[in-house]
């Protein structure tokens, strides 16, 4: 079965981002397909390359990155939500006149159309949020 996943909450602050991860991982392990993981609202903060959680805690961002690498996942941050909250890839940073970007490996920035498209392509769409 094909799943679309929407993540609406930031990492660490709400458990929703953890639950989304475990659900996605379980779906993949059970042979399902993930059409896309779309990060919206504060969910875009999952994609920061600058997070430095305590040593004895999980690293939510690198965990997503590793999952994306392993399963060739399509992970998209909403561009409007990301710009508002200070998540920029190199292109967006350049366009905004900023000299740095902070996008972690495996995450891409794109428009909200990708969320709608995930809804169309997937057999089930799930929202994890606050």
């Amino acid at each position: 079965m094909k799943f679309g996943i929407m993540v609406s909450a930031g990492p660490y602050t709400h458990q929703a981002s953890d639950t989304a991860y475990y659900f996605t991982e379980a779906a993949l392990k059970n042979g399902h397909e993930i059409v896309r993981v779309f990060f919206y609202h504060d969910g875009v903060n999952n994609g920061t390359s600058l997070g430095v959680p305590p040593q004895d805690d999980r690293n939510i961002t690198t965990r997503w990155s590793a999952l994306a690498e392993k399963y060739d996942l399509d992970m998209v941050l909403c561009v409007a939500a990301a710009q508002r909250r200070g998540l920029l890839d190199e292109n967006e940073a350049k366009r905004a006149g900023k000299d740095v970007s902070n996008m972690a490996a495996g995450f891409n920035i794109s428009g909200l159309g990708q969320l709608i498209d995930a809804g169309i392509q997937a057999d089930r769409l799930l929202v994890f949020g606050d």
């Binding site: 799943f3 458990q15 379980a26 089930r124 769409l125 994890f128």
Partner: protein
């Protein structure tokens, strides 16, 4: 086939469970996750409301979220089935869609 309703908020803090119980069609499934699992404990005002819903809905709770919060399996309402993350995925394939009451 009916949809799966997901509750991730404490019923003592937010109105999500009440709204879900009002708007989940008879026969549909309800899954408690994250802080939503506090609704699963029996012998509370909330628990009694949910126990009543067991007659008309299929009730589930995510076991790792129960464990995290120290709610013993002997303390939860009769009629709630426990699932793990694999079971959560399975549930979404057996229902026709998903609504998260954030």
């Amino acid at each position: 086939m009916t949809i799966l309703h997901i509750i991730n908020k404490s019923p003592f803090e937010k109105n999500s469970l009440d709204t879900c119980l009002r708007l989940a069609k008879r026969g549909s499934a309800i899954l408690l996750i994250e802080d939503g699992i506090y609704a699963a404990q029996k012998n509370t005002a909330v628990g009694n409301k949910l126990a009543a819903a067991a007659a008309t809905h299929s009730l589930y709770a995510l076991a790792p979220d129960l464990d995290a919060r120290g709610i013993g399996k002997d303390k939860i309402i009769d009629g709630i089935s426990l699932v793990d993350y694999d079971g959560f995925v399975q549930l979404t394939t057996e229902t026709s869609g998903v609504q998260s009451w954030l």
